[in-house]
């Protein structure tokens, strides 16, 4: 069975269907947006494949939401490719039309500073980007393969997490390494979670009723996998905590965040670690997992605060986050707002409370009561009235931004 599609033409297509894929390291989210005359954008099919490629005691499953019906299938999902296959099966079975497909791609290196239509040249460049984010980029490309196979002839595009940070000034993105090395390998800070920042920045500006071009804000994207912080001045990213790769910066669930670069050499030369196993350890066995010795999930760690390692892991998570917020306060010379987003950012009141504790020197005063009562699915303002800086919790929607990027691309003729 073929998937329905139509040639893109804004005049004829008053009702455009855009399928968006968002690969996480162990999940695959998807949404099909219905775009009505470019006025209303709403997802009418959505769901997520969970525990993709994860070996463990818990089972993989996939959810589908369409026409008011929710379905959950518990099935083995060995890879993102398999997950994408299941989604296309569902789309075919329900005879859902798709006109355009958007994909999230974490690291566009110095090849991409904006979203791009996937043609032969783009495809080659995407392949060159694979080693830059070895956890994320290959799985995104595998979903693109599946998508092209199932929707031949349908235009596809990629939206990059790193593109938002292309506005960073040289002082923020430069590594002081020899110029010939930097030129040859394009070593610089790229930054990630750009789609989330773009979405949340717009929502914060709308909520505050102040144009983004007049705001200085720090956004903390705190996810269950990766986390980062960005300093945003007048609608543009000016610094961020992740670097050339998504390994650096904050303490994450299994990623170590910042460490002494010489430490890696010491471990390989003196302690005889092989490069691949050491990198694997820093990416998959460090962070909260390495500190607590029992879980990479911040919720587990908070639940077991009686345990010494859990308390220490939580303490270091907050310590590093506060350091970055402090740094960016100086970069921006003071701020108008601090925003928390993504799963931990909007769901975890304790993290927000600890981060904002003892921050009155920066004009940040949290209303403890509002913070504890805040819901996670709507925008919440959490500061005291007297606070000079507004504290917001804003749920993000990366898929919506990917959809909007597709509408903005001139090559799509929209």
């Amino acid at each position: 069975m073929k998937i329905k599609s139509s040639a893109i033409n804004p005049k004829k297509n008053a009702d455009l269907h855009i399928l968006v894929f968002n690969c996480g390291s162990s999940s695959l989210s998807y949404k099909i947006f219905r775009v009505n005359n470019f006025q209303r954008i709403e997802p009418f099919v959505y769901g997520k494949a969970h525990r993709v490629g994860v070996k463990g005691t818990k089972e993989s499953f996939i959810t589908y939401n369409y026409n008011g019906q929710t379905r959950k299938d518990v099935v083995p999902i060995g890879s993102h490719k398999e997950a994408a296959g299941l989604i296309f099966d569902y789309i075919k079975k329900n005879d859902i039309r798709v006109d355009l497909v958007g994909h999230r791609f974490v690291h566009g290196g110095n090849f991409f500073t904006r979203s791009a239509v996937i043609d032969a040249e783009t495809f080659k460049k995407l392949q060159l980007c694979l080693p830059l984010a070895p956890i994320h980029n290959p799985i995104s490309l595998s979903v693109i393969y599946v998508s092209k196979k199932n929707l031949p002839g349908i235009r596809q595009y990629v939206a990059f997490d790193s593109a938002f940070h292309s506005t960073m000034p040289p002082v923020a993105y430069t590594y002081p390494l020899p110029k010939e090395i930097v030129r040859k390998f394009a070593y610089r800070k790229y930054g990630f979670h750009g789609l989330s920042y773009l979405d949340v920045m717009g929502k914060a500006s709308a909520y505050m009723e102040i144009p983004a071009a007049k705001l200085k804000m720090i956004i903390c994207h705190l996810g269950t996998g990766g986390s980062s912080v960005a300093a945003i001045r007048h609608g543009r990213s000016v610094d961020t905590s992740m670097g050339y790769s998504p390994l650096t910066g904050l303490v994450m669930s299994t990623r170590c965040g910042d460490i002494d670069p010489m430490l890696t050499i010491y471990l390989m030369v003196v302690c005889d670690y092989r490069p691949d196993s050491l990198l694997d350890m820093l990416e998959k066995k460090s962070g909260l997992m390495g500190l607590s010795d029992f879980s990479s999930d911040l919720r587990d760690i908070i639940d077991r605060k009686d345990k010494k390692q859990a308390k220490q892991a939580f303490g270091m998570y907050i310590h590093r986050l506060k350091e970055y917020i402090g740094s960016y306060l100086a970069v921006l010379n003071g701020i108008d707002a601090i925003v928390f987003t993504d799963d931990i950012g909007v769901q975890n009141a304790l993290v927000r409370e600890k981060v904002c504790h003892d921050m009155t020197w920066a004009g940040i005063s949290l209303d403890i009561d509002k913070n504890r009562k805040a819901g996670s699915d709507t925008i919440a303002e959490l500061n005291l009235k007297k606070s000079k800086v507004r504290v917001l919790s804003i749920p993000n929607d990366e898929e919506r931004i990917i959809c909007l990027e597709g509408l903005k691309l001139p090559e799509n003729g929209l």
């Binding site: 390494l177 020899p178 170590c256 460490i259 670069p261 890696t264 010491y266 270091m316 010379n333 504790h357």
Partner: protein
């Protein structure tokens, strides 16, 4: 007092305010060269040794060294073999040949053994942390000295202070009263600020990518510690004075901006760790070399009320850089490692 790097020995002999200074390459003849330079070695009453890295073994900044506890010093060699081995050899010679005098060990990392857990450790697996993989910091004697100098200017028990050493290896510490709460140097002095030839903090995955291109670990070590930093930004070996205080070329201005930007980021990060700030203390062996960057760094904290004053008030050895009304103070001090070593030794002997 002895201070060594990997190949050279320096010494200062002090008697009644008179200083005899010397330097030689490490060779079998070094004891004779020292004796010849100092003169009557029988007059020596105390000998001090500067230890670059005390690891997990030396936990006091200043302590007596005896044949009984020499083993602890020997255990430190593994932490920084190229420097500590030579320190051990120097101390061993004098301990053996001058048993009747006091021997004092001055350890540059000991001050930071009291860092809180979150500032001391990396978020790496438990088995690596058990192998002493942690932040050690450096310039502990300098930052410890600041805790003494600040007494006249802030509430020494509760003050939230940022201590900034300006030099070839600029580094920054957060002090809560007399206790260190964070420091910018890490497992090695490469982490933190860029130096004349050191990269400072960079994404560690770059090490893996460079290795994958065929570079050896020795070459990568050399690249990060001897070919990066200001030397890379300026595309030539240079001096701090040339970059930070004089030239006005585009490249120099960019390098200076890079330095101030990263110093301000570290300082502000530590302010957040402390939960506020009372004062910043800059200290340098040649403060004049930093006359161009101190105002720049200070102005980046105007949003906190640091009110920088162009011509500071000179109060003895300390220069107040802020207006009286400024809620956050800034000071600048001239620092001499030899004088600080001597002061520490005298203080220990008194107790």
């Amino acid at each position: 007092m002895f201070y060594n790097d990997a190949f050279h020995i320096r010494w200062h002999a002090v008697q009644g305010g008179r200083v005899i200074a010397g330097r030689c390459k490490f060779s079998p003849a070094w004891p004779d060269i020292v004796a010849e330079n100092i003169g009557d070695v029988k007059q020596i009453k105390v000998i001090g040794y500067f230890l670059h890295h005390g690891g997990q073994c030396i936990k006091k900044s200043v302590s007596f060294l005896t044949p009984q506890n020499f083993g602890e010093l020997a255990k430190c060699v593994k932490y920084l073999p190229e420097y500590n081995d030579l320190t051990c050899k120097i101390a061993s010679y004098w301990l053996k040949n001058f048993p009747g005098v006091s021997h004092v060990l001055l350890c540059d990392t000991a001050f930071f053994t009291r860092l809180p857990y979150s500032a001391l450790n990396y978020a790496i697996p438990h088995h690596l942390r058990r192998q002493n993989i942690r932040r050690y910091g450096r310039f502990g004697l300098g930052h410890h000295w600041i805790t003494k100098q600040m007494q006249a200017h802030v509430d020494v028990l509760r003050a939230k202070v940022i201590s900034v050493y300006l030099g070839d290896h600029t580094n920054i510490s957060a002090l809560n009263g007399k206790r260190p709460m964070a420091t910018s140097f890490g497992f090695t002095p490469v982490e933190g600020m860029l130096s004349l030839t050191g990269s400072g903090s960079i994404d560690p995955t770059i090490v893996f990518y460079l290795h994958a291109t065929g570079m050896s670990f020795k070459e990568i070590t050399k690249l990060l510690s001897q070919k990066s930093g200001f030397a890379a930004l300026m595309e030539k070996k240079t001096s701090l004075a040339a970059v930070l205080n004089t030239g006005k070329s585009e490249k120099i201005m960019a390098a200076r901006d890079f330095y101030c930007y990263n110093a301000a980021k570290l300082i502000a990060g530590f302010i957040a760790v402390l939960g506020g700030i009372d004062a910043v203390f800059f200290f340098a062996e040649k403060p004049d070399e930093f006359g161009g960057v101190i105002p720049d760094i200070c102005r980046r904290f105007a949003f906190l009320g640091l009110n920088y004053k162009k011509n500071g008030d000179n109060g003895g050895n300390i220069l107040n850089l802020t207006e009286k009304s400024s809620p956050v103070k800034a000071f600048c001090l001239r620092y001499s490692k030899w004088e600080v070593m001597e002061g520490n030794i005298v203080e220990l002997l008194k107790t």
